[in-house]
């Protein structure tokens, strides 16, 4: 798998004891892992506990990761186990079933909407909306060739090499376009999330 290599450099550093490399991987994947865990675990506080446990288990077991799958796939499996372990430990006959029934009432028995847990702080939800709005707005103003490169990478999951082939440009151009697109968006995200800076990595 091509993605198997994407985190290889950071993983290797983390395995050799560079904690900052693991921190970078946490920053990179915490939202994706939290969204995955939220499919199993409903309460925001429990989601955070389970995600913490998953990352801690991953760090303790870094030595056992041999790169046979992508690092993210490995992490995802650990998070799945942590979430299932949590559900097993806390069958919560009252709380959990109550939560599930509420969800059933509200949404029929349709699929759980990822990323939104019960008990989600309204302020967080508002901020999430503002982030999404700022990104959409930035994207609309972005030079089309920059937006195209970023979307191919982030949304379509194409590699730099594939994008270069698709757009018939050198890979260096792909690097620059993705970077410039991100920078354009980041500048517009900063005013929205700047107040969180002291609490971030």
């Amino acid at each position: 798998m091509l993605e198997a290599d994407a985190d290889a450099g950071l993983v290797r550093l983390a395995q050799s004891g560079d904690a900052r490399a693991f921190e970078a991987l946490v920053v990179k994947y915490q939202r994706r892992i939290a969204r995955h865990v939220a499919r199993y675990v409903k309460r925001a506080g429990d989601v955070e506990d389970v995600v913490q446990e998953a990352f801690i288990r991953a760090y303790r077991g870094l030595g056992s990761f041999r790169g046979e799958s992508a690092f993210y796939s490995w992490l995802y499996r650990i998070a799945t186990n942590s979430a299932l372990g949590f559900l097993k430990r806390s069958p919560g006959p009252v709380v959990l079933q109550e939560d599930l029934r509420d969800e059933g009432d509200e949404r029929g028995d349709g699929p759980f909407e990822p990323g939104v847990s019960d008990g989600e702080d309204p302020e967080r939800l508002l901020l999430a909306k503002q982030i999404s709005g700022a990104v959409d707005k930035a994207l609309a103003r972005l030079q089309p060739e920059l937006a195209q490169a970023l979307l191919l990478y982030e949304v379509e999951g194409k590699t730099y090499k594939e994008i270069a082939q698709m757009l018939a440009v050198p890979i260096g151009t792909v690097r620059t376009r993705i970077f410039r697109a991100r920078e354009f968006i980041a500048q517009r995200l900063e005013p929205v999330v700047g107040h969180q800076r002291p609490r971030r990595w």
């Binding site: 994407a6 985190d7 450099g9 950071l10 290797r12 550093l13 395995q15 560079d18 904690a19 900052r20 490399a21 921190e23 970078a24 946490v26 920053v27 990179k28 915490q30 939202r31 939290a34 969204r35 955070e48 995600v51 913490q52 990352f55 801690i56 991953a58 760090y59 303790r60 077991g61 030595g63 056992s64 650990i78 186990n81 990822p114 990323g115 967080r124 901020l127 999430a128 982030i131 999404s132 990104v135 970023l150 979307l151 982030e154 949304v155 730099y160 620059t176 993705i178 970077f179 991100r182 920078e183 968006i185 980041a186 995200l189 900063e190 969180q196 800076r197 609490r199 971030r200 990595w201």
Partner: protein, 82 residues
């Protein structure tokens, strides 16, 4: 500066040359402005995938807990076993 922030973008995507990873990471980890870039570029990507939830210290609480509990790599520990 552009070259440095470009490297942040490449670090995030695993697109640096292998020998560039360690020095770039060291640079990013030591510089709040570059850590910001790393964080915001990641947030932008997640937001494009419909998952732009704010980081209200979520990552930092993980690191703090790891330090508090003295979490270390344990040879022989398989997080997928059991």
């Amino acid at each position: 500066m552009v070259n440095t922030t470009l490297k942040v973008s490449l670090l995030l995507d695993g697109e640096l040359e292998p020998q560039e990873v360690a020095p770039s990471l060291a640079q990013v980890a030591a510089d709040a402005g570059l850590r910001d870039r790393f964080t915001l570029y990641g947030l932008a990507g997640d937001a494009l995938r419909g998952n732009g939830t704010p980081d209200d210290g979520f990552s930092r609480r993980i690191f703090e807990r790891m330090r508090r509990e003295g979490v270390a790599i344990e040879p022989g520990f398989d997080p997928l076993a059991g």
